[in-house]
Symmetry: C2
Subunit: 478 residues, 2 copies
């Protein structure tokens, strides 16, 4: 499961809170932006007749908003909404151009938006966690914005809304436009693998792209070491002394002594490689974890320089090279192999990945990962064990969101970094005059949604220009 | 409630069953058409994670189907699916032109498609009765057709489907295209009042159109008598002897003795006027009930000829004139004022009209009905009393289906009979080059979906031609 779960947006957050109660409204500040924090009473279930509601959190920034301007709406993904607000500077960068109000809506079951409070994560209570419900939440908030927040600002109830999102949030931004074209006039869907589902992509593509990034930014020697390391790791962990060696040299937080722990470690290690490829930005970032510019290159350089032929030394060296990712700031005391993020709802996301959003992934001998076929049945059994449910309708997502047939939809820009493994599940060719694909040659995971940076290449700058042009067109159509 | 509930398609059915079990598949024949009866296991709730399913019934006719031909899919409305199959001859009339397979899907909670068997109508179990769930049911069956039924006929999994529907079924046909444009290539939505909701139409329009039909096909004298009859009826029913008089002369089936009974009678009477206007076809029909050609004219002629000044005689005469509607065949023993149809799920439809599909209706002194304002609060209270629930989200339908803003949708023909009271809630002007309105000047309730008849006027013939042309265009696009 974790193979499929920790690859989405991972953000590390340093928050500075400035809280003051103002009618049920809190102010929150980070960097230069201040948000009004609001809560909407949304139905727990939009699609049956029932009256239960819960408080969905959303953030509003009006720094650049001028009467008549649109709403830029971020459709929150699998984590605390503040992380997305902090890592989507592009919306703020272009807000002044459009006089836009900037809004971030939290996804149900993440952050503070818990339908059943601290009981939200039971299998019974998790059942309302579906993309359809999340989209309906967003529409509910849009209606609320139209009716209440804007009642004093706008002369009528029309209000152009543009949806933005990255990764799963990008899928939601696109799906929102597809399912509710009268609620949002268009969508900027960045690194949105809307086709990363059954029968739509070859499962081996993902790890092949990761491997390609390591080959390009590291060397073939780097990927060869990684490729060879799996067997070494399996052999070393066959003995308790080997386990102990790994536990100590890799500074693992948890107890580490049985086969399950080894599986966890393998998943964690795979995830780190994936995360490094996804966030192989041209400049230092603090996204999933604090990282230098081109972390893959930094990691590979270190790994190759430390190369050894002895199995134990090889693993110890790998552990040292990994500190590029695990301890760039030098403040990490030990490495938890249970998680790669403390800000995202990993257990909750795993539920989604087990039920509605099953994304087939596999590794072959063409990539640097340990070979592992995609086994839908086994995956499903693991899900049943963990949550008591699994995906009983494997083709639901295709039916619900149209699969590869997008020609009847309009006003969506799908942008992908071609160095981002998730691009293999994204829309990378133009579909029509209204559905565009923007491929950022040297981009990684939603590079275009980040704030402008001096190290930005022309590719990402052009992508952002395309977004601005598209939004202008949609507003003119509106 | 009943004011709003008995105005949709009402069909009287004489069925001839020819049942033979053939692997879980029954054959059913009426008129010249034979159907395969099939059942699909559809999820009780499509939008939460759960595994419960129930059997949804659908009918297939392949008389005109040739490999490669499209599916003509009727999106069933609030009743037994056989009624709709029997009253939508247009689909069979044009099936040979397209080599089409004809399919009728039953709406959940009606006919045999009961999610909880004979326990389906409890307030708790009814909660899964929403339009969104019904649409997802249809998509589920379409997928099933693609995968199983057509696996042996088609070379690949592509299959063009055109949705058809009349009245509420027409709303569903249009909404299916709007929400699932990759599942259906286009929709023929006849007499579909998709705008008959809050803040979208003036509530008095409906009864004004009914009155207009009575003025046009009867005379002003006819509507004057009807208009005056309400006060007479109220006065006469103040005494028990008056009640007895009405009970006897109108041949009421039920006990009839208190104020509630009078309210029921008033609603029943209003519904009959509405039904006569809706089904004021140019030729004899057996739709809601068996009726002569132009029933409104026949009724008015009789009523005017029997005119009297005495209150009791006036009501007795009204009762006699009503037999045009209540006893055209001469076989009615008594009149039940609890219902106007034994084939439709009225209690179930009332639930929909109380929750998701609240349609504001009122009468003023400009029409022939008893004056009654639209009182949303009172309506809601009555719903709460009956079902324990009411419409807690009055603007949901507008959010979910886009309200009057249809410009982003495509491939829908909205046809309306301009003599049909429901046309006031329909789309009667072209929206775009892909969303067309076809107004049938002398048409009533989905006249165009009925089989061709020698008495058809050019208006309805032209409408049908437009449908054929549109379907051809959609198929070419596909």
């Amino acid at each position: 499961m974790s193979r499929c779960t920790s690859k989405f947006v991972r953000k590390n957050v340093n928050m500075i809170f400035k809280c003051l109660i103002l009618n049920l409204l809190w102010k929150y500040t980070f960097s230069e932006y201040t948000f009004d924090i609001k809560y909407s009473d949304v139905p727990v279930d939009h699609f049956t007749i029932q009256n239960k509601t819960f408080k969905l959190r959303y953030l509003i920034n009006g720094d650049y908003h001028v009467k008549g301007g649109p709403v830029f709406l971020y459709t929150g993904n699998e984590g605390n909404i503040f992380m997305f607000a902090q890592n989507t500077g592009f919306m703020f960068d272009i807000a002044p151009v459009f006089n836009a109000l900037v809004v971030f809506i939290e996804h149900r079951y993440y952050g503070e938006s818990l339908p059943f409070g601290n009981q939200s994560n039971t299998p019974e209570n998790l059942r309302f966690l579906t993309s359809s419900q999340a989209l309906a939440d967003y529409v509910h908030v849009i209606e609320e914005l139209r009716k209440t927040y804007f009642a004093t600002i706008l002369t009528n109830d029309t209000l152009p809304v543009v949806s933005f999102g990255g990764s799963y949030g990008g899928m939601l931004a696109a799906w929102l436009r597809m399912k509710y074209p009268t609620s949002v006039i268009g969508a900027i869907a960045s690194s949105a693998p809307i086709w990363y589902f059954r029968n739509m992509i070859p499962c081996e593509k993902f790890y092949e792209i990761v491997t390609g990034v390591f080959e390009k930014f590291g060397t073939a020697q780097c990927t060869n070491i990684i490729k060879a390391s799996w067997e070494i790791l399996r052999n070393v962990t066959k003995t308790s002394s080997g386990m102990k060696h790994l536990y100590e040299t890799w500074r693992i937080c948890e107890t580490f002594g049985n086969a399950t722990d080894v599986e966890k470690l393998v998943d964690w290690l795979s995830d780190i490689y994936v995360n490094m490829a996804m966030t192989n930005y041209h400049y230092p970032t603090n996204f999933i974890v604090p990282l230098p510019a081109y972390p893959v290159k930094t990691f590979c350089d270190k790994l190759v320089s430390l190369n050894s032929t002895d199995p134990l030394s090889t693993l110890a060296n790998l552990g040292k090279a990994l500190t590029v990712y695990t301890n760039y700031t030098g403040s990490t005391l030990c490495n938890s192999i249970n998680s790669t993020s403390k800000y995202l709802g990993e257990y909750t996301w795993d539920y989604q990945a087990c039920t509605e959003l099953v994304m087939p992934i596999c590794s072959t001998n063409k990539d640097m990962f340990e070979t592992q076929p995609w086994d839908e049945k086994k995956y499903s059994e693991e899900c049943s064990k963990k949550y008591g449910v699994s995906n009983s309708r494997p083709d639901w997502i295709v039916s619900e969101y149209g699969g590869k047939n997008l020609k009847y939809f309009s006003n969506i820009v799908f942008s992908n970094g071609m160095m981002d493994p998730w691009s293999c599940g994204g829309v990378t060719t133009n579909i029509s005059s209204n559905i565009w694909a923007v491929n950022i040659t040297d981009g990684v995971h939603h590079s275009d949604l980040r704030s402008a940076d001096p190290a930005d290449t022309n590719y990402v700058i052009e992508a952002r220009k395309f977004h601005v042009k598209s939004i202008k067109k949609w507003l003119n159509m509106f």
